[in-house]
């Protein structure tokens, strides 16, 4: 498998040292990495899961609006950061792998590297009851 750009390698290394849950995706939306605090929210370890395509992760956690209505994948902050290449923030619900429904807030932003290369996006999320 090809080596990741240094910006993503450093982003992963930074994420692995932070106590905030973090998601990193590539320009295609493939989930490249999430850290240990994110594992607690998602209910599954990254090592068990590995990389995951966008159409899978954007639906697998069954995201819904706060009122319970469906939240289309394209309205997720991480997808907005990817497609519109701008920061995005939203509160919504997910059903994690352990079956629990969790209220979370997500802030996502695009990752632009040296030479203005678009390298993907990063999302930081919080559980609302924390």
């Amino acid at each position: 498998m090809a080596q990741k750009p240094i910006e993503l390698i450093l982003a992963r290394q930074l994420s692995s040292h932070l106590a905030m849950p973090i998601f990193i995706v590539d320009p295609d939306g493939t989930l490249l990495y999430y850290n240990e605090p994110a594992e607690l929210i998602l209910g599954i370890r990254f090592e068990e899961n590995g990389e995951m395509p966008a159409d899978e992760w954007s639906t697998i956690f069954t995201p819904t609006n706060q009122d319970g209505s469906d939240l289309p994948p394209e309205e997720l902050p991480l997808m907005i950061a990817l497609t519109k290449r701008c920061p995005s923030h939203k509160s919504f619900q997910i059903r994690s792998f352990d079956g629990l429904v969790r209220n979370i807030q997500v802030t996502a932003f695009p990752i632009t590297g040296q030479g203005n290369r678009f390298l993907g996006a990063m999302a930081i999320f919080w559980e609302n009851n924390q």
Binding site: M1, Q3, P5, I6, I9, Q13, G113, G115
Partner: protein, 294 residues
């Protein structure tokens, strides 16, 4: 045949003195000469001054590949004769930053008060090329550059030719922030540049004990460099960028303690000023004579 000549392998600060005579005190500069005479110069540390003394064809074309613009990698620029020859053609490759192009960044050094001659006043035919994640050809060489983990915008170079593959990553801290270094190749900085290289010239500035106090400064512990080389499956590792506080005796001891205790599947030869390596013959090291030895 392709030859690789080390003109400077000291890290951070030039270190003259008898106690540094074996490995040398000049900072980063490596010359690669292709089988057609094409010359690549990797970094312009103080070693470039000695390389400049060997220039016999001032009107020739010179290709200078800078990994980054820390002082120990550019301080020899003002002492390389072709820069001052209107007939010479000098092409420089190096990284821009996110806000400044390569010319602006180089001019910060090549201008008063740091240096009396400005970049724009150099009489040679000068061309600047910005590199990040790029691929280009110079003579018989196919060169790939990629950003690597160091402090500030820094690239490493993978140089391929018919005689083999040389990878040059003189300043590199791939172990930064990694609990059990190395992670898989895809998550290891510089791994694509170094993969299966015949010769890897790589940062090995610190002992493990020193590295614990210098994490985040952009350099590697010798042991981490061995792990990096093993993961990349290189054939010959040349530890480089020796710490300016390490005397010849200190370096011999560091090499003995780290390399001597391990079973490695590749050859290790610590970089030494004026050492010459050859491709495809890998086990030759013929030091270039110093002027006072001639």
């Amino acid at each position: 045949m392709t030859t690789i000549t080390i003109w400077g392998c000291r890290g951070s600060l030039a270190t003259p003195g008898a106690e540094f005579d074996k490995y040398g005190g000049n900072t980063s500069c490596v010359q690669i000469t292709g089988n057609d005479g094409t010359i690549l110069i990797l970094d312009a540390g103080t070693g470039l001054s000695d390389l400049g003394k060997t220039v016999k064809e001032p009107s020739k074309k010179y290709n200078l590949l800078l990994t980054h613009l820390h002082m120990d990698h550019i301080q020899g620029m003002g002492f390389f004769p072709p820069f001052f020859n209107p007939e010479a053609e000098v092409n420089i490759w190096g990284p821009s930053s996110t806000t400044m192009n390569l010319r602006t960044r180089l001019t910060r050094y090549m201008s008063p008060p740091l240096f009396p001659v400005t970049l724009r006043d150099l009489p040679c035919k000068l061309t600047l090329n910005e590199v990040h994640h790029d691929s280009f050809k110079i003579g018989p060489f196919k060169i790939s550059s990629d950003l690597i983990g160091h402090v500030g915008p820094t690239v490493g170079y993978r140089i391929e030719c018919a005689d083999g593959v040389i990878t040059y990553i003189p300043d590199h801290e791939p172990a930064l922030g990694v609990v059990n270094f190395p992670l898989e190749r895809q998550w290891t900085s510089g791994s694509a540049l170094a993969a299966n290289a015949d010769i890897l010239i790589h940062d090995a500035q610190y002992s493990d004990k020193e590295y614990n106090k210098c994490q985040g400064w952009g350099h590697s512990a010798f042991n981490d460099t061995l792990k990096f080389a093993a993961q990349a499956r290189v054939k010959h590792l040349i530890p480089f960028h020796h710490d300016p506080s390490h005397t010849d005796d200190n370096l011999d001891q560091l090499i003995s303690e780290t390399v001597g205790s391990q079973k490695l599947e590749f050859k290790v030869t610590a970089a030494r000023e004026r050492a010459v390596f050859k491709l495809p013959v890998l086990n030759t090291q013929d030091p270039v004579k110093k002027p006072n030895q001639e």
